[in-house]
Symmetry: C2
Subunit: 366 residues, 2 copies
């Protein structure tokens, strides 16, 4: 049996910071990016964490983004702002914009900030979490490359356009919803392919625009179905939600949108010019007792009788909380072998200290 | 063959106004309610229009709502407001709140208004349409009676919690998304029952919490599935969206929420105390050219190659536009016989002039 390696959160961040400093990123921004990616890994969204450092490095070394660009406010009211990301790191643009939205929410109850000229900003939930630190409701939206097929169409035209919302309950509890507006992300097709099992109907289409159950064909076609799947099971609603995401980001901020967004690390070598939107809402300007009511509702939901006793009812964010507990218990994140191999190559290429991991201690059941 | 009757929009409104005045509603509010219900019928959302007058009348005559109550602002910033609907008509509360949100959006770019103490407010899209008249992006959310089963549960706990967004394109064109966060509304089960055809998997559960395909059993169980259906096809996302709707309405405004919301016209004879939220966003405080970009994207989508040439790709709101054209063409709305029968009984009972309809002129194909 292969030994599983575990990497502490600090060491994983150290490695990312060193890599990005090595390609010319100033320390503060490299730290912001590392915090963003490791938060994703910590929460179990491994597709949005360390897994993506090569993509970001690719953008920097090909000068498709400027890792030291600072976002600028172009237009502003007491409650809103239009920000130019100046083609900087998405994580930096995102953190800046949610900070700005939070400041406005503390002043006038709500802050609504949209940025164009941005890049991939990590998991959408990152910015909901940023708002939660201040006990403020946070929402975030981003547009993405067009891999989703509008209902009745054969080809893709809009992105998976994720949305997130975080809302505070009592004692640090919370709802954190972070979802693409598709049935699944492309990553789930990869997992089924690796396991050699078919994908359910409703996930993806093939190149002829037909429902596909072979994950390999689905991946090559890159035509995801909106949440709801086929038209008869409400797929047009997921398509509508994806369109809502594009309206609140690209259409509002003046970035690229819909079919014009390039594929990340695709052959075009084009600047992404993505858009992201950040909303902060201070519950204190509304009815007192927000956190009590939300905790009361979460309690009700979590204590409902499950259909399968082994599968309790969850609230958005509970899967992530379980993963974080596991990471704490084992002293860090267990990356797959492939990630460790990638990191070794990167460490040599960028001349940074290799990431140090230790063998995971497993407790015998006897 | 039965003669189809057509009722002009004005006459349908006149009848509703007379009915509500007869049960003690002041003229202005009766007009607001009539505008709301007939807009739904005009757009083809017949479940949310004239079809519901008995429910509203029931609430008034049983003193479950006060048809003359005026909403009041309880708390306010330049960009936000908490409104007490004072148990008035939902259509009146909704119109008042979106007006307030629009005023704030014109002042500071965004207005966010939430109301508690409200009642059923008609179709959520009504308030998106209200914002569109001012070329402003409008969103609205409402909580509703608990008929949706959280993923993994057997019983219902949250509402269908519809959301709407309207965004202006060029020359009066627009996106108007108006959707429940379930695969379908209960009304669709009724239609399948009437047609005697099964319902697809993913619409509803039976009383044992199992996927149901018999519309009759589904209707009796009153357990809808969130958008996405089963867990493997993303149902937990629809559940998360329903929860988001509850957070932005009931939890924020301090109304009833989740499992505590009574069934409309149910046996409890309880005040609804619903919550609704209204967001107005003025595109003018963001990047210039909003309407051009949105029309450009709509053009792209509508001109994509359809899988079935008979079914062109649509944008949210296009089905409604087609229905409105049809209503204009035929000179009014064709209500089903059952509605005409109900109206006759109502006219007698409330001593108002019966609704006048005319035979629909059909053009022969020869």
């Amino acid at each position: 049996m292969e030994i599983q390696l575990v990497t502490s959160l600090d060491e994983a961040k150290r490695f990312i910071i060193d890599c990005f400093k090595a390609v010319g990123t100033q320390t503060e921004y490299a730290e912001t990016l590392a915090d963003n990616l490791i938060e994703a890994d910590y929460r179990g969204h491994l597709s949005h964490g360390m897994n993506r450092i090569e993509n970001y490095i690719h953008d920097i070394v090909h000068q498709l983004l400027d890792p030291n660009a600072y976002p600028e406010i172009e237009k502003e009211t007491v409650a809103t702002a239009l920000v130019n990301g100046n083609n900087g790191l998405g994580a930096v643009v995102g953190k800046y914009c949610m900070d700005l939205a939070l400041k406005k929410a503390k002043d006038v109850g709500i802050g609504f900030v949209t940025a164009h000229g941005s890049n991939h900003y990590g998991m959408a939930g990152m910015y909901a979490l940023q708002a939660l630190k201040d006990s403020i409701i946070g929402l975030s939206f981003t547009n993405t490359s067009p891999v989703v097929v509008p209902t009745r169409a054969k080809d893709a035209a809009i992105g998976t356009n994720p949305l997130s919302i975080g809302a505070p309950g009592l004692n640090g509890d919370s709802v954190v919803l972070d979802m693409a507006t598709t049935t699944v992300a492309l990553g789930k097709l990869e997992i089924n392919k690796r396991k050699g099992i078919p994908i359910p109907e409703g996930w993806a289409l093939n190149e002829r625009g037909e429902m596909e159950t072979d994950p390999d064909i689905g991946l090559k076609a890159s035509r995801l179905l909106p949440l709801g799947g086929a038209e008869i099971t409400g797929g047009y609603k997921g398509y509508g939600l994806g369109l809502m995401g594009e309206i609140l980001t690209g259409i509002l901020s003046g970035s690229k949108y819909g079919p014009d967004i390039p594929v990340w690390n695709g052959p075009e070598k084009e600047v992404a010019d993505l858009a992201q939107t950040f909303i902060a809402i201070d519950p204190k300007v509304f009815a007192p007792g927000f956190e009590d009511r939300l905790s009361n509702l979460m309690d009700h939901l979590r204590h409902m009788e499950p259909k399968d006793p082994a599968k309790p009812i969850l609230v958005a964010g509970d899967v992530e909380k379980k993963h974080m507990e596991q990471v704490q218990l084992q002293g860090g994140i267990c990356y797959v072998k492939d990630q460790h191999d990638t990191n070794k190559v990167l460490a040599e290429k960028l001349k940074v200290a290799p990431m140090i991991s230790t063998a995971l201690e497993t407790h015998s059941a006897s």
